[in-house]
């Protein structure tokens, strides 16, 4: 706590203008909240719903970065494939919610492992920029290949019938829906399971060891390539869940639907401190809420500009994000 206060004090001295703007913004938000608390609560609730979806995607960015120092720009498109997998399973083959979600997870995990093996693994010892450019290329490939007419088509497809019948209730003026509960519940289960896996199991220990120091991890007898592959699969499976939940909440799908959520989840991961699992979660909830508040109080056209400015501000103020470790010393 003391450390945190000190850190904030240092940061305030370094960039007083940005902090002043931040405080003014918070004061302004508080004012709006007092004017109409119900509306404010509605925005927060919607923001949390969106934030949970972003969290599921941000975790994949952060875990993959943690283990191979790669920003996997194709991750947002894996999320899109998850959405399509869920769509086909439920609308064409009439699978129910849970099996469709499992299918989305499996498809995404498999796709991501293939991408890692053919596009990233051969570049693991190359300069980092090579793999980054490859990731951007892979992202475009997935977007434009799937947009071809004989794949998914470039058009919007309405996701109907839905695997969940939409129901909503009014709680003290705030509208909540069953879909929102499902998103929060599924998101929470995934987060808790992930936390358990990473911090309480042998495989999780191996993941953290590989993230820290690959040669030494090999000296322990850890199969480093296998752990890396598993990390990609795990991140992608979470993105698959996220993709399905996203299109259940916003039931219009097309092959570019992963771009914006992908970028915003990436910003969430950077904001929380890329490489940090709790950081990705906190960052995603924050970005989700900022987005709905900006859309609600300012304008939906400004929404994305505001979210992207956060990236710039974080990179200026604190490149390691909220929970990021300072660059570690490594051989």
């Amino acid at each position: 706590m003391q450390k945190l206060l000190n850190r904030i004090a240092v940061s305030v001295r370094k960039s007083p203008v940005i902090w002043a703007i931040g405080v003014l913004l918070l004061a302004w938000l508080a004012g709006r909240a007092r004017q109409n608390p119900v509306l404010f609560a509605q925005f927060l609730v919607d923001g949390i719903r969106l934030g949970f979806v972003y969290a599921l995607v941000a975790l994949g960015y952060t875990m993959v970065y943690g283990i191979v120092r790669l920003i996997n720009f194709a991750h947002g498109d894996v999320f899109m494939i998850g959405a399509f997998a869920a769509f086909f399973a439920t609308t064409r083959y009439h699978w129910s919610f849970v099996p469709a979600m499992v299918l989305a997870m499996v498809v995404c995990a498999f796709l991501s492992v293939v991408i890692e093996r053919i596009a990233y693994k051969p570049l693991r010892d190359a300069p980092r920029i090579s793999a980054l450019i490859t990731a951007v290329g892979m992202s475009f490939f997935l977007e434009y290949f799937t947009a071809l007419n004989f794949v998914f088509t470039p058009n919007f497809i309405v996701f109907a019938p839905q695997p969940l019948q939409f129901k909503s209730w009014n709680v003290l003026g705030v509208t909540v829906s069953n879909i929102m509960f499902v998103i929060i519940a599924v998101g929470t289960i995934c987060l808790v399971a992930l936390y358990y896996l990473v911090y309480r199991t042998k495989l999780g220990k191996a993941m953290r060891a590989v993230a820290w120091d690959k040669p030494t991890a090999r000296l322990m007898g850890i199969d480093v390539d296998l752990v890396i592959t598993f990390t990609f699969a795990l991140g992608a499976a979470l993105a698959g869940v996220g993709g399905m939940l996203y299109v259940v909440a916003y039931p219009q799908i097309r092959t570019f639907l992963g771009v914006m959520p992908g970028l915003k989840s990436f910003i969430a991961a950077v904001f929380g401190g890329i490489g940090s699992i709790p950081g990705a979660f906190i960052g995603a909830l924050t970005i989700g809420m900022v987005e709905t508040l900006a859309a609600g109080y300012l304008s939906s056209t400004l929404r994305d500009t505001i979210v992207f400015s956060i990236l710039i501000i974080v990179l200026l103020l604190r490149p390691t994000g909220l929970f990021g470790e300072a660059a570690k010393e490594k051989a």
């Binding site: 220990k205 191996a206 060891a209 040669p215 000296l219 007898g221 051989a331």
Partner: protein, 237 residues
């Protein structure tokens, strides 16, 4: 009887750099063998090749009849070879306990692993006091102990130690070497790489002097201690 570890004509490259240029040596069951030599002679490269982190372009490494140049690093650990790398290489964000558990990564039986951990704590009581602390918060000496404890957790038959005395105070160096002798007395063979040649020769049975990727001299440690070349080049006398 054939040697436990037999390294023959080992050639290792880093790209175009010819780091090992035909290294030959052997280690018998129960021995402490030391590899000494100046910075850059190829000592660490030798150990990394034995552990399977590097692959030789030519030559063989036989461990109890198995050619290690053909098996994975994971398998090498299961075969009974463990390395304590140069610079300790602790997993800094992981706790002392987790670091030790990773040392036992290839083992299954939880009870036996727990027994090994107790044995490590008997040799390094200070680690037990710090069991839930992140490895990175330990002092240099404690990190060396943790690295050695971690290396012992796989229950190795052969322990490779890369410059365990590096950066430690003379008192700590004494302690570490006492523990090395003790580990050896309990039946683990040891291949010790050192720049501190005087200390290494004082506990080793036999020694090899490495110079720019080849073995320049070898013999019983006590004999090498007396050789004029060794005295001037490595003992600073």
């Amino acid at each position: 009887m054939t040697a436990m570890l037999e390294v023959k004509n080992l050639h290792v490259f880093y790209g175009a750099i010819h780091a090992l240029q035909g290294v030959d040596f052997e280690l018998n069951e129960g021995e402490i063998v030391t590899l000494i030599g100046a910075n850059g002679a190829g000592k660490s490269t030798t150990l990394k090749t034995i552990s399977g982190l590097l692959r030789p372009r030519q030559g063989s490494i036989a461990f109890r009849g198995v050619d290690l140049t053909r098996v994975s690093a994971t398998r090498i650990v299961s075969l009974g070879i463990s390395q304590v790398p140069e610079g300790r290489k602790i997993f800094a964000p992981l706790t002392v306990r987790e670091n030790l558990e990773l040392g036992a990564y290839t083992r299954k039986d939880a009870r036996e692993i727990q027994e090994s951990m107790e044995r490590v704590f008997a040799s390094f009581p200070r680690l037990k006091e710090r069991i839930n602390q992140p490895g990175g918060t330990l002092s240099g000496g404690e990190q060396q102990m943790l690295a050695m404890g971690r290396g012992l957790m796989s229950k190795p038959q052969l322990l490779l130690l890369d410059e365990p005395s590096m950066g430690l105070s003379p008192l700590l160096v004494e302690e570490i070497f006492r523990i090395i002798v003790d580990i050896n007395a309990h039946g683990t063979s040891i291949l010790l790489v050192e720049q501190n040649a005087a200390m290494a020769l004082s506990i080793a049975n036999r020694a090899y002097v490495l110079e720019t990727g080849t073995v320049a001299l070898h013999g019983p440690a006590a004999e090498l201690l007396e050789k004029p070349q060794v005295k001037t080049a490595y003992l600073g006398r």
